[in-house]
């Protein structure tokens, strides 16, 4: 039993137990009921249903995935062969590079835009509450809806973006945003940045509100300009929260299946295929479950490393703060 109580759970947390008689009464009553109810009040029984369910839907499937990753389609043991084959596959190399490009480019832009928007939303102006709410729209609305809307705006012949750029003379002929191999990934980065920067903005806003106003007061007394305040107070104070956000953005970025799959299905010619979509493609288009399992597990390992780093930063931050 993992969650065995250190002390009888009925006992109230230390320091909060009322002194004197009531405590004695509660204790003797509780002993009686503990025996009667087979100790159903122990913490273990409270967390058991949830833990059992999560174990069933995460742990157990994972064990079968590990088994699949070291066997072939006839359930015969093949050792590391699936891993070697999927690692050596050209599609994996392409997808890995795409993922790194997509996530890195997205994060840089999301952090810049999001931080700027957060600082802006922290300024006082009329209609601030409404503007804050409207800024969140890209993030609130279903990913598939955002993806379809941008796909329509990116449309080569009838899309508003080509139409606008042509009339402004920025481009001479329509750009095939979603089918031109060199343009497709940057175009998808734009959509992803648009979708996630409001999240950064709100997190930054929360971080800004924790900065002591006295820092800014002191700076004003010394005659600091707005930009000096941003450079020497705001950004240094936001460092931890930005590190934490970056890791969340990486985790979200490697998983941005909806936008990419809905807009390009990973094409043209795998030019916008990222690893998370490759897992889906290997399994459900090529029906290669054994290699897809191997890929899943490697993807899981990398994702877990980022998750652990995020939790580590958060806990350290919580202890310090």
């Amino acid at each position: 039993m993992h969650a065995e109580a250190k002390e009888p759970s009925r006992q109230l947390p230390q320091g909060l137990t009322p002194p004197g008689k009531p405590r004695v009464v509660a204790k003797s009553r509780s002993r009686l009921r503990d025996t009667v109810s087979l100790q159903l009040d122990r913490p273990f029984f409270f967390i058991l249903p949830a833990i059992a369910l999560l174990a069933t839907f995460i742990l157990y499937p994972f064990v079968s995935t590990i088994l699949l990753s070291v066997t072939d389609s006839d359930h015969a043991w093949v050792g590391a062969e699936n891993y070697v084959r999927i690692i050596e596959s050209e599609r994996t190399a392409r997808a890995t590079l795409n993922t790194i490009y997509f996530v890195a480019a997205s994060i840089i832009l999301q952090l810049i835009l999001g931080t700027a928007a957060g600082i802006l939303l922290n300024e006082r102006f009329k209609g601030q509450a409404i503007v804050r709410a409207l800024t969140l729209i890209p993030w609130i609305v279903p990913g598939i809806v955002g993806a379809m809307t941008w796909a329509w705006m990116f449309h080569t012949d009838y899309g508003v973006i080509n139409s606008l750029f042509l009339s402004l003379g920025i481009i001479d002929e329509p750009v095939r945003w979603l089918t031109n191999p060199t343009v497709v990934l940057p175009a998808l980065v734009v959509v992803n940045v648009w979708k996630m920067f409001p999240f950064v903005a709100i997190m930054v806003l929360a971080g800004l509100q924790a900065i002591s106003p006295s820092l800014y007061e002191a700076a004003r007394v010394d005659g600091a300009t707005f930009w000096e305040e941003v450079r020497y107070i705001t950004l240094p104070q936001l460092r931890t929260i930005l590190a934490s956000i970056s890791l969340l953005l990486i985790i979200a970025g490697v998983n941005s299946i909806t936008i990419i799959y809905a807009m390009t299905r990973g094409g043209p010619a795998d030019r916008s295929l990222i690893t998370s979509i490759q897992i889906f493609v290997e399994a459900f288009q090529y029906f290669n479950f054994n290699q897809a399992s191997a890929l899943s597990l490697m993807f899981f390992a990398v994702a877990t490393a980022f998750i652990a780093a995020h939790i580590w930063i958060e806990r350290r931050h919580a202890r310090e703060g």
Binding site: E4, N122, E123, R124, I144, T258, S276, A292
Partner: protein, 275 residues
């Protein structure tokens, strides 16, 4: 916390920000009221020349979208309610008991909350296959618990912690059991929190795409996001219908968000990573 309004400069970047965030959706809404002939016409028109509901009629009366809307509602409600039921006792234990391994369990739950869904599609596909639950609404409800349960535990623990111990203490002294306290005191007191978690879980499952795509390929169990993606095929894409369906799909989410905007923002911060 800032010291006051500096100048009017702020309105320029603010309007830029609003344009970036909002214009794509304005375009979606405008497009949904244009006829196909107008959508596929150069030069493009900004406002609809002829305001038409033909796209909405097509989506509502001549497609599977209403069916998918019902499926989405069933799946989201089911997994949200189940998630809350399983989360409540766990959150209570995490907020009120000291026990061995507590922080380890909490970290594991947080990790399962952050885990990218892509890492789980193959394992869950195999598992649902064993259970014979592929292509069933029940199967989707169960896998969506992977999304809703960790989040609900995480947020509910916070709400329970904010309730003063004294109330509970009095009940315990009067002989109430821990389960009695949880159901009769803690849950009613944290009702506002429960509502927020309920809505957040609902939105997360309503928007979910890759599980639905992998585990529900039959028309009778498809959800709205898949139905929306279906309007676009390689050779023929009905953009008018897609824009109208997008508006319809966004409506419940917009209603929830506008109604609960203030409480909602904090909750969203807790669960931003599930795509």
């Amino acid at each position: 916390m800032k010291l006051g309004v500096r100048t009017g400069w702020v309105y320029l970047p603010v309007s830029l920000l609003l344009a970036v965030a909002f214009l794509p959706f304005l375009w979606m809404i405008l497009s949904s009221f244009k006829s196909l002939a107008e959508l596929y016409h150069i030069p493009i028109t900004w406002l609809p020349n002829v305001f038409t509901l033909v796209n909405y009629e097509k989506v509502l009366f001549d497609s599977n979208v209403p069916r998918y809307f019902v499926n989405s509602t069933i799946v989201s409600l089911g997994s949200t309610v189940l998630g809350l039921i399983f989360a409540t006792p766990a959150a209570y234990a995490f907020s009120r008991f000291q026990f061995r391994g507590r922080s380890v369990w909490q970290i594991l739950i947080l990790m399962s909350h952050l885990l990218p869904t892509a890492a789980l599609i193959v394992p869950l596909y195999i598992f649902l296959g064993y259970l014979n639950l592929l292509n069933s609404l029940l199967g989707l409800v169960l896998v969506y618990l992977v999304l809703t349960l960790p989040l609900s535990i995480w947020m509910l623990t916070g709400y329970f912690k904010s309730i003063p111990l004294e109330i509970e203490e009095a009940a315990l002294i009067d002989g109430a059991s821990r389960w009695g306290v949880l159901l009769r005191i803690m849950l009613p007191l944290s009702l506002p929190g429960v509502v927020v978690i309920f809505l957040y879980s609902f939105v997360a499952t309503w928007n979910e795409f890759i599980f639905a795509l992998s585990f529900a390929s039959d028309d009778t169990v498809k959800t709205l996001p898949i139905g929306l993606a279906e309007f676009s095929t390689e050779y023929d894409t009905d953009w008018g219908a897609i824009m109208a369906a997008s508006v319809i799909m966004s409506l419940p989410i917009a209603a929830i968000f506008l109604g609960l905007q203030r409480v909602f923002v904090g909750g969203l911060m807790a669960g931003a990573t599930k795509g």
